[in-house]
Symmetry: C2
Subunit: 110 residues, 2 copies
């Protein structure tokens, strides 16, 4: 569970299906890049947290949370992230979709 502050803040919803899913070398390269990107995101001022899940069929959802649009822009434009975005489009995703949405309200349990 990712602890986020009271709204408003921004969510970046990234849904995708992996290409080469289940191929051990592709999965290993992807996993290493994903872990590195999470480490990198944490260094961006305004980063609030990330949640991620991927099903056995290769469909994944990652939601990252940010204080401001400027923080998202810095993350989107980070040189190392730009390289990984290019790899994603070329090799790692059958399809992907990115949505940016300001969180207006939130509730958690318990």
């Amino acid at each position: 569970m990712t602890s986020t502050p009271a709204p408003p803040y921004l969510a970046v919803i990234f849904t995708n299906r992996r290409a080469g899913w289940g191929e051990s070398d592709v999965d290993a390269a992807y996993g290493a890049a994903a872990q590195r990107m999470e480490e990198l995101a944490r260094t961006i001022p305004g980063y609030l947290g990330i949640e991620s899940a991927r099903s056995d069929d290769g469909v994944g959802i990652t939601v990252s949370y940010w204080e401001t649009e400027d923080a998202i822009a810095e993350w989107r434009g980070h040189p190392e992230h730009l390289d990984v975005q290019a790899s994603g489009r070329a090799d790692w995703y059958e399809w992907c979709e990115l949505r940016v949405a300001p969180v207006e309200r939130a509730a958690s349990f318990p």
Copy 2:
């Protein structure tokens, strides 16, 4: 991939970790309820689509998309859904969090 119209529309981001994860009877009951809820959601006017993923560790993310706040309110208050929400709080989730966020922009690939 869920085809949604051009923004604006609303996203409901539901993140959770299953309780009783890997217990076959609990998983079966949960799976049946989840499938039924997806069928039910499709009947609500203003429903646009749903995306869902769950990892091996039981962490799941479901994002549903809606035209209006009224549509979300109808979905949230549907009697059959209220029953399942109660089961979720009592039996099915170690933790869960719900966020409502209007999607401002979206991009997909390819």
